[in-house]
Chain length 390, copies 4
């Protein structure tokens, strides 16, 4: 059996289907999409890719189906889905997901069109697997779909430990061995067995700590917002969305350098915009918290007008209110299946913590930061409040 | 400079005072006191000792004083105190601490008498250090005392990562590098600098998860309770408390084999009592929750009488209500020093979680467990409720 | 299935036979025998035991038989043998092995008598396993015996990585995942498959580097020699060899304190003898290199006489000439099975290196070291030559 | 002080000069040059970059100068040189080094022109540092130059442990803590202090094992040879060498896709050529072993002619004879400074091993591999001999 050496799980054995799928250009493309996109501007060692992450998810899925006594055809579909779960990502992964959704209506976990009449689909069918069933599992459908995309999926188990290994931030170092071993099905729902309330909480806590320290670090958010804005302008400049979604990180970086040179250069050389406003939830009017894409752009233009600069040098970044998907995971407590949020005191507190960590950001080049801050305070009716050194 | 290779911190450089202190029988004794006493009956790799832990605390204290720009005489006292902070432990560390306190009135961090007129004291004085000042720091007194014994002390930073390394349970893997770097003094109080709310929370969470999974694992609690009871009988059998406090783990294990052979054999061979009762806080009458030492013994006798067995085969284990010392740690938020419990939503939830994890235990040999359970339910007015497989 | 958390291999699943064997006093005794005996006087974190090592060897054996498609009855015998392979060790493991062999004629891997009519034997038989077949595998007999005791056995794979983890010395960190995966049988001989010459060499090199840095560190050798001499005197003082072989580390340490107090105290407090002579192979007459047990004792007496001290304060330590068992391991090169020593240029060089590292030691208390050195030079006709700071 | 979190060395503190240098586009470019170029086609997790490696070398250099009591101006120059030592690399690092040398006459460690009149040079001068002195240290000149580029330099200490961490192959996990602590100067030569023969050997062995398993893995060699050939054609297609040397990995990958689409696509999607010939040193005529660049190209054309294919689909890859630079490192043995090759039996054996591992490769697309093999055997007078599965 083919085996791949991985820095996190050591040897990963590939079944024949997986070995063939890995050798396609569609899967090899994942070598060129970094797992944490702009996070590596903060944590330089975090240059790992969706390629090895996908192998890791495949590995944990193999272990999980084995522990759950799922085998044969059903297990084969789960393994294939685990391997392919990220092939729907555009360049820079999550960082361009909203943009792609706005233009195509598709999320990254909708991959049916990528398996229909393609080499990947052919390989699946040649091994007796159904492409549409694989796509359904990737979308989280059915009992086994929860293994790949759900509150207790192996996707998050892999990325937490992998991101910890590569950033050096230990918070993501969960006990994935225990999590995988303690999975059970109850009435077709995936649950953690008795005695694992704390195991479930640890998964939630790891995510929450990694969110604050890694995934939502303000430097990564600024770079990500710049990248998204630059990508919008790339599409306005004539690059088609079909071409865009097939790009890998390096294609996008080079394309930005050609079509949006100033932003492209800044992203490549980490000459990032600075925070003009960085305001917590309780200081921001509700309508600003819920600014959609179009309104954010309008506000940017308004601020830019006041300052007298082109609109593209002002970025308003109002992230979605935080959700904690893991809080809906199921555990067995005293013999009864319960939602974690009902069984754990921590979930409510973590929700409050996530709200506390939420920040509205307004970013601009350093030279005009103060002017942008002044204008933004007027337009958005928010305080500046950047307490940590910018 | 002498250096010691450590599995957690790599090389630990010893200053001349430390090098001399390490070479005394009093300090070498710590090689023979395991850090986690009975925990290794659950996690077999956890056989690390207070010797290497003490070196680790010394190492982190050296780094902390350097980052805090404390030097000279003051730094030397902190380093010596960090090194010696555990020499007051009896055999099996925390497991015999209550017993020793009842007999001597002393806690393990009262070490003045061990430095007064002893070789350790001589060494300190020969280097111009004050034994009493070292003892005061070990007791947590004064601004620098907080570094060695306080809510943000380097003691807990070392034991969390060390216990994680040796048990294999990852929850204790905190970012001690960051914690040490972000320590500051504000009005003589040790605080974490701005932007470290989550860093402080991570310390608290690591402790909470390690508590439930490792430190208070029921198997370790049963063995610990058996050990404490056996030690009481050892003292009743003629071993003096002065002799007892100087024992190391191996001395106690052999002495138990001689004086209390049945319990000694059971502890050594891990033939442990089983849980007859394992009841949560809300199911236990308040007076039972607060059973002191004497009352617990009386209840044991009562239960034993009903069952018709000698009192020593019944153990009632009603632990102190949980406290979370770390929740009082101080952090700077928006320029103001705040207690973590006031700044973090998590503290309240963790307190609730700790209460949820609290269990009253009644333990007995497997053969009489059911009878003891029935009697205990009567005597203590509690349900049996052992939900996880015993 | 029962699972044990291990700091090296994460979760180790125990089959029903193993779960029962582990729960015997004979196996639990291994919790009290440290893997590296006196090495922890140099590397303080190295307090791991033969208990977790035995679980680790069991774990790797389980993986190996699975990769080799050995199953059923045969696999069950291999797994049981792997688990029990160290139960024949006396206190302090290898450190008392020579002494026990001189008195009983038995090596630590002869365990038939420990399975014959004992609880361990009963458990094996109750699961349809043959105690004598298990004992034969432990002794390295037959094709599968090589898996447990041979040039490519899983015993050394486990101890190298485990000792690296616990000492902090990285040299033992081999790629055990690859070694286990690449095992094959050719004509009933265990070999490494094509393309693994370097994998085989890496095993050899890890051993050689760990030998010099860890296993044969002079401080550990001195303490080990003191322990062996003290144990001899313990037996002369009335402790029977039957009692001795059943001791665990703590029993021996306490017994030495009672019967041989001066040496016992020194070992416990690490007040070790110092090197009076430390001479390389080319400086030592052949008859001294090959000094047997009796002659070494005679020489010690002679030296002590000259100095005018009792014989027990002089220790002559002339270790066996080094052998490198791993150099006989088999690999497939260009389709042909070859011995590593025939296929690798490194083996000869390592043999030379091992000879270079060999040292004759004469040890004595610091106060009389110089006198002992002078006398030893006369008696043994060797130079002193202690070049590294003693 | 600015600190960067690193997955290998934890926090790396940057002095003010370093903090400024890091923020230049020239240094940020290193984020886009992978440390191991084509190796990640074999070990997918190996996507770390020269950016974090450079920070790591800076970190070890800081430690080394501190242990060596080098301070002030001299230490500042060493630290700056360590940080900048890799800025002279072209895209894909070592993989394009020969090509760049042929066109510019410059090696990657000649960086004087990159510091002369540039922003990097300005920063150095503004802190009172001499750009030419920094460049000289990078080139290995003078006593401190050996720290950055020499047999015992911190460059190799960092890359060995970093490559091990990211590939998952443990062989590179050296004891860099010890190596850095044991550096000394003797007559202006950098040496390892007494008692470190084995420490020096371990460095050599780590390199040798990583060479065979990682750095010279045949898949990486094939991809590297394809990349070099494709880069040659890029330059022939009009891209200037000045433009080329400033490229980062992503620039080159996109440029290949445009200018050399077939090879570019193959490299990006890992559709690599296969080995038609893979012959050891003793089977290859001396003149073929020493084929230079021009002759290799001529031979390729000759083979291609015979097969009837265009010359670019045949690659002859005859690597330089192996040298082991580390074998010239100096150690103190019995008080005398010696070259490792004179003091260690292993060096000679490793040289022989390196010769044994040498392979002549001839690569071609799978469809024509057999024809190319037949033609190559004629032209080069070598056997095919591909023993491991291609």
């Amino acid at each position: 059996m083919t085996a791949v050496k991985d820095s996190v799980h050591d040897y990963i054995s590939l079944d024949p289907v997986a070995a063939e799928l890995v050798d396609t250009p569609e899967f090899q493309r994942l070598r060129h999409i970094k797992q944490l996109s702009t996070v590596r501007l903060v944590y330089p060692s975090a240059s790992h890719t969706r390629f090895e992450h996908s192998l890791g998810v495949y590995h944990l899925a193999s272990q999980a189906v084995s522990h759950l006594d799922i085998d044969g055809d059903r297990a084969a579909h789960v393994r294939a889905a685990a391997l392919l779960h990220d092939i729907g990502h555009g360049p820079y992964g999550h960082q361009t997901e909203d943009l792609i959704r706005r233009r195509t209506g598709r999320d990254h976990d909708e991959i049916a069109h990528l398996l229909d009449g393609t080499r990947l689909g052919e390989i699946l069918e040649s091994h007796g697997l159904s492409p549409s069933r694989v796509a359904a599992i990737v979308a989280g459908e059915g009992p086994v779909g929860q293994l790949v995309s759900g509150e207790l999926d192996v996707d998050r188990m892999d990325y937490l430990v992998r991101d910890a290994h590569h950033t050096g931030v230990p918070y993501g170092t969960i006990d994935h061995g225990r999590l995988v071993r303690e999975l059970r099905y109850r009435d077709d729902k995936l649950v953690l067995s008795e005695g694992n309330l704390q195991t479930a909480e640890s998964l939630l806590l790891a995510r929450a700590l990694m969110n604050g320290t890694v995934y939502r670090h303000h430097v990564s958010r600024i770079a990500g917002a710049m990248l998204e804005r630059a990508s919008e302008r790339l599409l306005e400049d004539g690059v088609s969305i079909d071409e865009f979604v097939r790009m890998a990180d390096h294609d996008l970086l080079v394309a930005l350098g050609e079509h949006v040179p100033e932003l492209g250069r800044r992203i490549e050389s980490r000459e990032l915009y600075k925070r003009a406003v960085w305001a917590p939830l309780d200081a921001v009017p509700t309508d600003v918290v819920e600014l959609g894409y179009e309104s954010s752009r309008a506000v940017e233009r308004e601020i830019a007008d006041i300052v007298g600069v082109p609109p593209e040098v002002v970025i308003v970044d109002s992230p979605a209110r935080p959700r904690i998907k893991e809080s809906r995971s199921r555990i067995v407590v005293d013999g009864v299946v319960r939602r974690l949020e009902d069984a754990s005191e921590l979930v409510g507190a973590l929700r409050a913590t996530e709200r506390t960590q939420w920040r509205l950001g307004v970013y601009a080049p350093e030279a005009i930061r103060d002017d942008v801050a002044a204008a933004a305070v007027d337009v958005l009716d928010v305080p500046i409040r950047v307490t940590t050194p910018p």
